[in-house]
């Protein structure tokens, strides 16, 4: 930990304690990026039938409400949903496997965000196809840092 602090913060910036603490916290937050692998880039997938309600501006990243309404294309039903936060240390926030065969699904949850970013919702259908939509948000403080 001390090593990271020494490497990332030049000594002249270290004087205000709060700032160095914040940089250190963000450093640890980004220290272990994990990759989520998809067959195709998410922005090449169709976003039809996925509605997202996500605040454009959130005070803190500690609890950002997400509401998603997913409607399957005609003749198909939903198999799974994924919520991806690309800038988070663990991008995969939620993987929901749906066992009954819904045509429409409304999901609500609350997310922690490490940085301002777009949330991605990927829907998987029973024929193996995928659809994805995203919604951007701006946060003023990261959830990786304690308020205390």
């Amino acid at each position: 930990m001390n090593k990271i602090r020494k490497l990332t913060i030049p000594p002249q910036v270290q004087s205000p304690m709060r700032r160095s603490g914040m940089a250190w916290a963000i450093g640890t937050c980004l220290a272990m990026p994990q990759q989520v692998v998809f067959s195709r880039p998410l922005n090449e997938l169709s976003s039809d039938g996925i509605e997202l309600v996500f605040p454009r501006l959130a005070d803190t990243g500690n609890a950002v409400p997400l509401e998603a309404l997913v409607t399957a294309p005609t003749g198909l039903h939903l198999k799974a949903l994924k919520v991806i936060l690309p800038e988070n240390p663990n991008p995969e926030a939620l993987h929901l496997k749906i066992m009954d065969k819904p045509v429409q699904y409304r999901l609500k949850t609350r997310l922690r965000l490490a940085a301002s970013q777009s949330v991605w919702l990927v829907a998987y259908f029973n024929d193996g196809s995928e659809r994805a939509n995203h919604a951007p948000t701006i946060i003023t403080s990261t959830a990786c840092l304690d308020e205390s």
Binding site: A25, N88, A93, L94, H95, Q104, K108, T109, C144
Partner: protein
């Protein structure tokens, strides 16, 4: 083991056969992401609810893998299709320390 985790399961909407209810589940779990430090600078080990399963009349309807991006208290709302005979919705969770919990609510028509 630590103090019991309070969980809650509730509906919105009328409980009628064939209706799509919204089931709201939340658990007052600390959801330690493993990225935060305590007052003495030590890293708090990761302890999150990693699996949530929802059953309707003992049939699995939804299984969720949760990541560190879920808030504390963790909150999840999902649809439940009310069967004509009513029934019981049960939600089971497990966390990284091996702690488990169960909440159930009866669908009264």
């Amino acid at each position: 083991m630590s103090s019991p985790i309070l969980t809650r399961l509730a509906w919105t909407g009328p409980v009628k056969a064939g209706a799509n209810l919204e089931a709201r589940w939340s658990a007052a779990h600390p959801m330690d992401s493993g990225f935060r430090v305590d007052d003495s600078g030590r890293q708090i080990p990761k302890n999150i609810i990693h699996t949530v399963r929802a059953y309707l009349n003992d049939r699995l309807i939804m299984e969720a893998d949760l990541g560190t991006a879920m808030t504390s208290p963790v909150y999840l709302a999902f649809p439940v299709l009310v069967p004509p005979e009513g029934g019981i919705v049960k939600v089971i969770w497990k966390d990284d320390l091996g702690q488990m919990g169960e909440t159930q609510q009866r669908l009264v028509l």
